[in-house]
Amino acid sequence: MHATDIQTLRTLIAKHKRYDILFGIIGLLATLVGVITLLALFIDLVMGGYGRLTPEFFTNFPSRRAEEAGILSAWVGTILVMLVTVAAAVPMGIAGAVYLEEYAPKNWVTDLIEINVTNLAGVPSIVYGLLALGLFVYILDFGQSILSAGLTLALLILPVIIVATRESLRAIPVAIREAAYALGATRWQMVSDHLIPYSMGGILTGVIIGMARAIGETAPIITIGALTFIAFLPPLPGTIDPARNMPAGPFDWLFSPFTVLPIQMFNWVSRPQAAFLENAAATGIVIIVATLAMNALAIWLRYRIRKNIKW
């Protein structure tokens, strides 16, 4: 080979090696865009709202005066709505997943269900709000209540729980099922005594991710007509219902008007005054800490489960 040929070949190789390194750097930077955004968002929120995170902020009702306003009705509302959501979505989600994974015959009905589960995960959340407005609020006449909101969010996170449960059911080896059958267990005994307990970790992860998503959801709850200014607590059992001036029944709170944290934040961020923006940022910190903590918990749980289980 001629000497100059080797020379050009070497420069060519060097050039392409440089491209490799260059792309390694660009790729890392692109990956860091997300991390940097997350940091900027968090710092922005903390700088904007840290001053408002006093104990009174959590124990005051919203108010026309920004300095006196708090998120009491919002965080209580969020917790109550979550209670309804979990109570409805967890049993439904697990049951649906068990059916699809362990019972479903291979036919068109099963295919239809599968397609719908996949599709529902891609439906924009505000559409669930429209469904709830028509169905829960008006046709079933639950009103603009905690019950309507909780059921709406339950429908929203159902696909998340179904997918997570199915994944962990699928990870259980067939031998476990065969062993249970060999001992004379019926299908349901096998499912309830073996499969569900063994897949609890995966199910829990799915439930936590679903809840983290539901806590931050704003659009569907606004759509069903949640109010933004609520200066009272729902009539919890054991308290006096101020509207009727008698002790509240055990289920009265389900039908109470309410507000939740993200709606409170939306309300404050839509106002021009700087003092309310500060409240919005403080509410944002509360929401983001709650959701990120739940997401982190789920990621950690999944990691641990993956590490520990070896069939």
Binding site: A97, Y99, N116, L120, V127, G129, W188
Partner: protein, 315 residues
């Protein structure tokens, strides 16, 4: 079996009958449980049906008052005015412009991240970075709205002094960053599905990592990457709170991202915030808008899933 020790013939007959009835009971119970489980799974179908039925029902009330031609061609959307106009085009343009901005951010960054994570990143980097990307998806959208309005837009105003406080550029960029993890994880899955032998073939011909990634892996995974784009589009189209907070909620028929505008989703939120009488045209109009939204996302979702299945079956 309590009477086990006294094995007279009658008892044996008795336990046998008892066993048979127990078995029958067991079968009934099993069947009942299976039916319950089926109903839970079938609720997915019921939900879809209910969504379509409610949207069609309420929208049909709307279309009794407004012709479909006016709905699709009028360039004014002013249902709250004295002389209401019902043209979906301004909401559609707002939706498409914010989605376009979001894609302009998410597609290049998402693909680079996917190539980097699948072909370049050391195992350790990937395991550390991916949870962070997942967290990015976990941030509530109303918080992103605050971020777009009070951080990104002021930042952009440094470079574009004429940018109004409400605009589509800021929220578009934020939605783009928001869907990066989505685009990158679906694309990465597609790239990882490319068989190792293709890469080895490329290396054997003397290609570098970058050449292999761009000339072999990327083309081989193209249908999966396209699926990622399309699923990303359907996410961006349905995004609500970021635009409702930061884009101005004012229907505006324009293709200029630096102007304020409303999207389909922002309009629904805006109307729902007010106290609308049930059954009025404005109330029904949000269902008509919702119907358009569902049709758009449905088309994108079906396309995306078809493409995704294609890359799964390719090898």
């Amino acid at each position: 079996m309590d009477n086990f020790p006294t094995l007279s013939a009658g008892v044996v007959m008795n336990t046998q009958a008892h066993r048979l009835s127990e078995k029958k009971l067991r079968k009934v119970k099993e069947k009942a449980i299976e039916t319950l489980l089926f109903l839970a799974a079938f609720s997915a179908v019921a939900t879809t049906t209910a969504i379509v039925a409610i949207l069609l029902y309420e929208a049909s009330g709307f279309f009794e008052h407004v012709s479909i031609v006016e709905f699709l061609t009028n360039t004014q959307w002013t249902p709250m005015f004295e002389n209401p106009q019902y043209g979906i085009l301004p909401l559609l343009s707002g939706t498409l412009v914010t989605t376009g901005v979001a894609l302009a951010v998410a597609v290049p960054i998402g693909v680079i991240v996917a190539i980097y994570l699948s072909e370049f990143a050391p195992h350790k980097v990937r395991e550390t970075v991916k949870p962070f990307l997942e967290l990015l998806e976990g941030v509530p959208t109303v918080v992103y709205g605050y971020f777009a309005l009070l951080f990104v837009t002021p930042l952009l105003q440094i470079f574009m002094p004429n940018l109004p406080g409400f605009n589509m550029l800021g929220p578009g960029i934020v939605i783009g960053i928001m869907i990066i993890p989505y685009v990158s994880s679906v694309s990465e899955d597609a790239m990882r599905a490319v068989p190792m032998s293709l890469r080895e073939g490329s290396y054997a011909m003397g290609a570098t990592r970058f050449q292999t990634a761009v000339n072999v892996v990327f083309p081989a995974s193209i249908s999966g990457v396209l699926a990622a784009f399309i699923l990303g589009i359907s996410r961006a189209v349905g995004e609500t709170m970021v635009v409702a907070v930061a884009a101005g909620q004012q229907p505006n028929f324009t293709w200029n991202p630096s102007e304020p505008a409303a999207t389909i989703t922002a309009y629904i939120v805006q109307v729902a915030m007010g106290d609308l009488p049930h059954g009025s045209i404005a109330y029904q109009s949000i269902f008509a808008a919702g119907l358009v939204l569902v049709l758009m996302t449905l088309v994108f979702n079906i396309l995306g899933h078809m493409l995704r299945r294609r890359f799964r079956e390719a090898y």
